[in-house]
């Protein structure tokens, strides 16, 4: 199973096995990783699953779609490597992915 490392704002790391095909958001929620809420359940409607993708992985996670980019343009503390983690699907190619959480989702 692909593994994803979630790093909380305070530096706490969570190494999680995420089933192929689930989203990075779902991987966090299903394992109670703090800092990713996913209020809307993965509909790209709420921006409560904001993460910073480790630079080394940016090419493989791809770029945000139009709706996601619009949401991110106003997410608190958005950076060029910001993504909504409900829009990143975990595949074997993302085994080893590292994402960091912002201080808050609002």
């Amino acid at each position: 199973m692909p593994q994803v490392t979630y790093i909380e704002h305070d530096g706490t790391e969570h190494l999680i096995d995420v089933e192929d095909g689930l989203s990075v958001m779902r991987g966090a929620v299903d394992n109670n990783v703090p800092g990713i809420d996913g209020d809307c359940g993965g509909e790209c409607a709420c921006a409560t699953c904001h993460v910073f993708v480790d630079e080394a992985w940016l090419a493989r996670t791809g770029t945000p779609g139009e709706q996601e980019a619009s949401m991110l343009s106003f997410a608190a503390t958005a950076q060029p490597n910001s993504r909504l983690s409900c829009q990143i699907t975990v595949t074997p190619a993302l085994d080893g992915l590292v994402v960091r959480m912002p201080e808050a989702q609002h």
Binding site: V29, N31, N32
Partner: protein
């Protein structure tokens, strides 16, 4: 004799109760957690029931808030298919309907709301449905398809979402609204009129200002809705979507303060310091608006779940949230933030014809009270900031398409 380890009992396993259990563990609660839910299912998301689930586009796994193994891993004891039937506050014990008794250190009431029923002739006919849980949604789905016709009593969000899904499933749909416009209690006039037009353009019949007199049937099954003006609206399924009433009976019987919901503060505390209440069943402070109210939404359920868990675990309270809501109908993504109490002026930014628009509701001092965004996610995100800041913005600036919404909110 050893005491039982301190236990937190959560009465209600919907979005609020399920989230509270998860946040308690995130915030460091080490004792026992018992999650009691009346439905047979693990906690699941209700919003897709009127949309993706109804259209057959969601699975039980995708609907579940979290997988079954989560509850074992997090040491959350599930009591499903049963409910809290009584609270003994003095002894700090609850009795469940299956006969089990549980002691509690803290009790969280996450009892939800239930669809408001209508005392109409024919309301007990087969084919007359409401929508709250998966059982309701499955019954509705079985009744929708080509050649079928749905009548929705009540033009609220659930009614409009189901009407849109019915069309997607090939069924006919008619929405019957008593007020002069759909969403009369929860949206501004501009959004109501826009949605009425969108629904009509996609074959939904929308009748406003009509009073339902009865549901008429043949052989025990609904066949038509009869209006007060005598018109007969043929159908084979009726959805009653006229709002929800908070489930407060258990709290009231236990002597907790209730007034249009279980009364709580910003830490989700009830009038008993050992009992919190969260989600649809609560009457909560709305600090941005200087009043209290009841919110039926997932974001509210999650915010209050955090408030209760933080309070119980001795953590600082979570950041206050702007109330917000979303809805999907056809290819329209609606995102609303804030509440338009005492709104003085509605300012429209963008153009529905051009793909998206947003309604900004301002008070007399031009403070942004609430926004309604249709296919306009950047406006929604910016609007949420404007509402949180209670920012004053001149209407001409909001209307000006040459101004980036980013600059307006900066």
């Amino acid at each position: 004799m050893s005491e039982d380890p301190p236990c937190i009992v959560i009465a209600g396993a919907g979005h609020a109760g399920g989230s509270a259990a998860a946040f308690l563990r995130q915030y460091g609660w080490k004792g026992a957690i018992a999650l009691v839910g009346e439905e047979a299912h693990l906690p699941y998301q209700r919003p897709p029931l009127s949309k993706a689930w109804l259209k057959g586009e969601a699975s039980a796994e995708s609907l579940a808030l979290r997988p079954a193994r989560f509850y074992a891993q997090q040491r959350i004891d599930l009591h499903l298919g049963t409910r809290v039937a009584g609270i003994d506050r003095a002894a700090r014990r609850v009795s469940l309907s299956d006969g089990i008794e549980l002691g509690y250190h803290r009790l969280i009431l996450a009892l939800g709301a239930r669809p408001r029923s209508l005392a109409l002739p024919g309301a007990d006919l087969a084919g007359v449905l409401a929508l709250r849980g998966t059982v309701d949604a499955d019954a509705l789905q079985a009744a929708l398809g080509p050649g079928r016709r749905l009548a929705v009593i009540g033009g609220g969000y659930i009614g409009l979402e189901v009407a849109a899904s019915a069309r997607a499933l090939g069924a006919g749909a008619v929405v019957l609204e008593r007020e002069a416009r759909v969403l009369a209690r929860v949206a501004g006039t501009a959004l109501s009129r826009f949605l009425e037009a969108q629904h009509r353009a996609r074959g939904v019949e929308v009748l406003t200002g009509v009073e339902v007199a009865a549901i008429e049937g043949e052989a025990g099954a609904a066949r038509a809705v009869r209006l007060q003006d005598g018109r007969r609206i043929p159908c084979d399924t009726v959805l009653i979507g006229v709002g929800a009433v908070p489930s407060t009976e258990l709290a009231a019987a236990a002597g907790l303060d209730c007034a249009g919901g279980i009364v709580v503060d910003l830490a989700a505390r009830t009038s008993d310091p050992a009992i919190h209440a969260i989600g649809d069943c609560t009457q909560r402070p709305l600090p941005l608006y200087g009043r209290s109210g009841r919110l039926e939404s997932v974001p509210n359920a999650i915010e209050q779940a955090k408030q209760a868990a933080a309070d119980i675990c001795g953590r600082p309270p979570p950041q206050p949230e702007v109330p917000w809501f979303w809805s999907d109908q056809f290819e329209l993504r609606l995102q609303m933030a804030g509440l338009a109490f005492d709104a003085h002026e509605a300012v429209i930014r963008g153009d529905a014809e051009a793909g998206g628009f947003t309604v900004f509701h301002l008070d007399r001092e031009q403070r942004v009270l609430a926004i309604e965004a249709v296919n306009a996610p950047a406006d929604f995100m910016a609007g949420r900031v404007l509402v949180a800041k209670q920012a004053r913005v001149a209407p001409d600036i909001l209307r000006d398409p040459a101004r980036s919404i980013r600059d307006v909110a900066a």
